[in-house]
């Protein structure tokens, strides 16, 4: 029943630790103007705007989309603001896609951003509440124990995470907008970087970035009329489970397993490892690559690490993962999910420059958030779904 929809414009800002040259307005406009230019559209061509970002405490503005909306040409238009924790960039793109797939709108602009330099991520992510002494040291303090749980159950070699980090950091060198670029990065440099949340090392961890990502999503009519190739949206899916409950498998969350299984079914994919040409997934700590390889059904349980080890996830592997350099290289939290979705679309449009996977026809974009409990994903391709 859903109408076809496609990504017809993509824009990312240059990402950096502190984009001191722009205001929040300038930041989102940089991404949005690049997306409009890519789509060869003007502000007046846009029917609706969808904004996504993570907690308002990052920038200290309650519902900042209200003051930003007019900078996105939103006056007189519908505007939505999505917030689903770390997965928000992906969820936001899905809401925008739904506005077109529903037949309600023809061309929708969606922007996700974070300007983390305005405050401190560790503070904003875990505000201390009364009666509750904070024990968990930011996202790393939450996820490091889960990584240890994965190491225990899978028996993965201890250097798996280092190998992932090395691959992603080398990939980032090919991405002009990536935040962290280490031209002389080596296995030893990562291995010798300080342990922050043992077993997670500094160079196995994502940075805090300022940046934004924007997409223009168009209906079939507009996708066919566009002069740049569209990325056809074959399937989207979102899935949630509670953060903490008795018997929850936090290492291999069922929400992720089901989200991806349903996604493939909708997209008519029966063997994801074979049929998907590349995947851009949300890996804020290097060990999450092997974990998500299993959660996304690319590898059997407890064997995801083998894909990293065998080079399957490298740019020249059979399933390249995080061609852009991933979240490990660039992490403006609210935007991070959308950047994953955008990279998948860039690949199937043949637009990914030096990190292009040759002949990529079908790609996965993936994001997760909260305590590994919110998942959002899409499959995009160079042709519409039959």
């Amino acid at each position: 029943m859903a109408e076809h929809a496609a990504v017809i414009g993509i824009g990312q800002t240059d990402f950096d630790a502190k984009r001191l040259d722009v205001s929040q307005v300038g930041l989102i406009r940089e991404a949005a103007e690049r997306a409009l230019a890519d789509a060869e559209l003007d502000w007046k061509d846009i029917d609706a705007v969808v904004v996504g970002k993570a907690p308002d405490m990052f920038e200290g503005v309650m519902m900042p989309e209200l003051f930003l909306a007019e900078a996105l040409g939103g006056v007189g238009k519908p505007m939505l603001r999505v917030h689903t924790a770390g997965s928000v960039g992906g969820s936001t793109a899905i809401v925008a896609a739904n506005l077109v797939q529903s037949g309600v709108h023809e061309r929708v602009l969606t922007v996700a951003y974070e300007k983390q330099s305005e405050s401190n991520a560790m503070w904003a992510l875990s505000i201390k509440m009364p009666f509750t002494p904070t024990m968990v040291a930011g996202a790393g303090g939450f996820f490091a124990p889960l990584i240890r749980g994965y190491m225990e159950r899978s028996g993965a070699p201890e250097d798996t995470g280092i190998r992932v980090a090395l691959k992603d950091r080398l990939n980032a060198l090919k991405n002009p907008v990536a935040h962290i670029k280490l031209p002389d990065v080596t296995f030893e440099m990562i291995q010798n970087s300080p342990m922050l949340w043992d077993p997670v090392r500094y160079l196995e961890t994502c940075p805090s970035s300022d940046g934004a990502c924007a997409l223009v999503i168009g209906s079939e009519k507009h996708a066919r009329a566009a002069s740049n190739p569209p990325a056809w949206i074959h399937a989207t899916n979102m899935k949630t489970e509670p953060t903490m409950f008795a018997g929850r498998d936090q290492v291999m969350p069922r929400a992720g397993l089901e989200c991806s299984a349903e996604l493939y079914k909708k997209a008519g994919i029966s063997d994801p490892r074979k049929e998907i040409d590349c995947a851009e997934i949300y890996v804020p700590f290097s060990w999450f690559e092997p974990m998500w390889m299993e959660n996304l059904h690319f590898a059997p349980q407890n064997q995801g690490w083998k894909m990293t080890y065998e080079g399957a996830t490298a740019l020249d592997g059979d399933l390249p993962v995080n061609m852009s350099g991933g979240v490990l290289s660039t992490n403006a939290i609210g935007a991070s999910g959308m950047v994953r979705f955008a990279e998948a679309a860039m690949q199937v449009r043949g637009q990914a420059g030096e990190h292009q996977i040759e002949g990529a026809k079908k790609a996965l974009g993936h994001a997760y958030g909260g305590g590994s409990q919110y998942f959002s994903m899409w499959i995009v391709a160079d042709q519409p779904l039959q």
């Binding site: 001191l20 040291a137 124990p145 990584i147 225990e152 922050l196 409950f245 008795a246 929850r248 498998d249």
Partner: protein, 165 residues
């Protein structure tokens, strides 16, 4: 004179919002228990699983957790990490070890500090017990437990813990 000054590129805008926080019925019951040195778990009305602390609901059933029961202060390490990086909201000296601890009689783990052994000895399945602060320092918070320390009991096999990890 003003021509010589640098252009303004950044402003500082202090934001201060004040709240009076109330924790809710179930959390308050737990906090009043811990004030007395008791660890009160709460069982789900529907599935019977025991939460500590409970926020009032069993998230898997969306049922209230009405029946409170006192749990042991002994438990098992489900997983852990050693923190070597400062965090804005934590004042524990670095480095320190935090663990997800499953108290005996509970069906969900919570986070506690592990002390009393070298970090290298902390392992999944290790048995631990709460070390309480002096009673005179007790307040309404799980901070009444200063840390958990290893006890001389055999490790719990990983297979038995996998459901909680």
């Amino acid at each position: 004179m003003s021509e010589e000054r640098e252009p303004v590129t950044r402003i500082i805008t202090p934001v201060r919002v004040e709240y009076t926080y109330t924790p809710g019925i179930a959390s308050e019951r737990f906090l009043r228990g811990v004030r007395e040195g008791k660890l009160l778990g709460a069982a789900c009305d529907s599935c019977g699983r025991v939460y500590i602390p409970s926020r009032g609901a069993c998230p898997r059933c969306a049922s209230p957790t009405s029946e409170f029961r006192e749990l042991s202060d002994k438990g098992t390490v489900i997983t852990f990490c050693v923190v070597r990086v400062p965090a804005a909201n934590i004042d524990v000296p670095l480095p320190y070890c935090t663990a997800n601890i499953l108290l005996d009689g509970a069906d969900i783990s919570f986070t506690g500090l592990i002390q009393g052994c070298p970090f290298e000895d902390v392992r999944i399945g290790m048995r631990v017990q709460a070390v309480w602060r002096p009673e005179s320092e007790w307040g309404f918070g799980i901070g009444n437990i200063e840390h958990f320390t290893p006890i001389d009991e055999p490790d719990v096999p990983f297979a038995k813990l996998k459901e909680y990890s």
